[in-house]
């Protein structure tokens, strides 16, 4: 029987990644030390990234697989991180649905034709991700090859249905989510039709990323903390669950992340995910006690702590690691994305410290 050498190498690398710190932590298995990656670890705080951004817009980088792969690898080359996360954004899935997306300097994302009526929702497409988001799927294939060589897993991701709905209806960022929540409260039929389409798009997109090579998937419900628990239960939860169920067909572990979720943690867990990602607004040990032993926990350093002098930053990182207490299933991360102007040197020291620190 002959052995295909390429398949052999692939299988070997798969096994290394399967036993990587991140994947073991997702399965709540003991690791030699705590795995760490940082949300938005590839981004504006890195000089390498800013240099590339002088030549290309965000959307150009995202839509050129070679560039997206290059940016994905920038923090991997700079720091001892335990995973790469594909360079993309949570909003491009909305483009495939027919929304016109742009990133306006100083204003963040903008959608020129926001969704407001039943007609608007009826006109939204549910395009297969292979058509509308081919660039990210290609970038995943490229980044997989690079990360395989380091024995590191690649994380794919998507915005969650509520967070995408918030952008789609508000037409951009929003301080209080008046428009999207008003739609939810005042026109339930339109709301549920919108969320049904979004959950299908999100689920299929996550599944396609796993098929393209992502070994972990993260669902970002960044704005879900704007909701009352009852609104999450009645108007959001089943759609998040549906998206996660579709993605789950891949067999790949899923991280379910939100901010401002201290009032709905158990609901988030019940909607699904192997790992629950929390922000800094709750003590990690309190959160884990509420979530129970059935899930891993990711978090939860305040991104602003990275601006503090090292001894202060170290104290805060140590406090989180002490709360996790060396339990299997803790993935160290920030409580939200890393901020522009974050000192690179602190990022390096933080990542190294997480690996070196031994809980007493």
């Amino acid at each position: 029987m002959s052995v295909d050498p390429l398949n052999f190498v692939q299988a070997q690398s798969n096994s290394i990644v399967e036993n990587s710190r991140l994947l073991k932590a997702c399965r709540r298995e003991k690791t030699d030390t705590t795995p760490v990656w940082l949300m938005r670890q590839a981004g504006r705080y890195m000089p390498e990234y800013r240099q590339l951004r002088e030549k290309y817009s965000i959307l150009e980088i995202i839509k050129t697989p070679e560039l997206a792969c290059e940016v994905t690898m920038q923090p991997i080359n700079a720091f001892d991180l335990d995973a790469g996360i594909i360079f993309a954004d949570i909003l491009p899935p909305l483009e495939g649905m027919g929304l016109q997306l742009d990133f306006v300097k100083g204003e963040g994302p903008i959608i020129y034709n926001p969704v407001r009526t039943a007609d608007d929702v009826a006109q939204l497409y549910v395009t297969p991700p292979e058509e509308s988001l081919w660039f990210t799927l290609e970038a995943i294939k490229l980044a997989r090859v690079e990360l395989d060589q380091r024995g590191l897993p690649l994380i794919g991701f998507s915005g969650a249905p509520y967070t995408l709905a918030a952008y789609a209806v508000e037409g951009g960022g929003s301080a209080n989510h008046l428009t999207v929540k008003s739609l939810m409260m005042s026109d339930p039929q339109t709301w549920h039709a919108l969320m049904e389409k979004l959950s299908e798009v999100v689920g299929q997109y996550l599944l396609a990323q796993a098929k393209a090579g992502a070994q972990v998937l993260q669902l970002f419900d960044s704005w879900v903390g704007q909701l009352a628990p009852e609104d999450y239960r009645q108007n959001v939860m089943s759609y998040t669950r549906h998206a996660i169920e579709i993605a789950r067909e891949s067999g790949v572990p899923i991280i379910h992340f939100g901010t401002d979720t201290s009032g709905i943690l158990e609901l988030l867990r019940d909607a699904g995910g192997d790992v629950i990602g929390i922000d800094w607004r709750i003590d990690l040990d309190t959160a884990w006690a509420r979530l129970g032993d059935g899930v891993a926990v990711q978090g939860n350093l305040d991104p602003i702590a990275l601006f503090a002098p090292w001894p202060e930053l170290q104290k805060r990182a140590q406090n989180i690691l002490d709360q996790a207490g060396g339990r299997a299933g803790h993935i160290f991360n920030l409580g939200h994305g890393i901020l522009p102007n974050t000192p690179v040197d602190n990022v390096k020291r933080l990542v190294d410290f997480v690996h070196e620190y031994q809980v007493v």
Copy 2:
């Protein structure tokens, strides 16, 4: 023995107010029905207020006791509310400290000389409120006369030390509190000096309002939800407690309110207050179970629910009242200030519904 008729009337009115729904609820005594008032109940959503604003700026209204009193009474005349809250803002105490405050159209509050260094803090005044905030104290005296005639209590208020620090250091509103939290984490000496002055100013201001006639005091820690629990414990809590302790000398009940506090509820309670005000991000019954029977609870309708059709709004209000379950000590309110453009008719129906509804 002759009876001074004026003092007699005053004493009678005091006794009526002492037995008003709001004050009884603050003491966790049974009331005939749930008391209700609304944060920012006097404001832009009311045509009477907008009309006045055509002639005067916000600061002109606040600093003219007759106008502040008039605006205080607008919602009392329009709705069956259980209390008036003096028309003022959380920021004027910063003016008395030497900061230059303005409200810029479309941008909200701005401080032209924000606090950034030890020197900046050293230069801040702790002016007696009778000097720097005389206008609000005068407005309280006027509004008390009006409200006494209705047998309704008057609420005085102040921003809490952290929330004031956030504005003072950021120089206005801020999405992520990078500057204020960086100061807190990087320059603890300056931070603690700033918080010491702020807690003194806040405490004295609250006390002065009670002496001027306010029968309830609310501390607004509107932005405290940006903090990790450990930061609240180490860098904020003792200052909030100090302010509350000063105010407590008045004997007047204190409502301690914050948003995004689901991760630090117990800490907020431990910092002080007879009533804890919560936002809509947590179920009221869950919050109360965590807070225990030793405090009353105020909240917690999502202000955006007021934009929904009446049956939907009613359902949401009923859900909150059912969670309170007729317990002594529930004060119905929104989870944050009422928004501009809120339909006035819904406000009226909401207030009446809270009074009419009987928990089954």
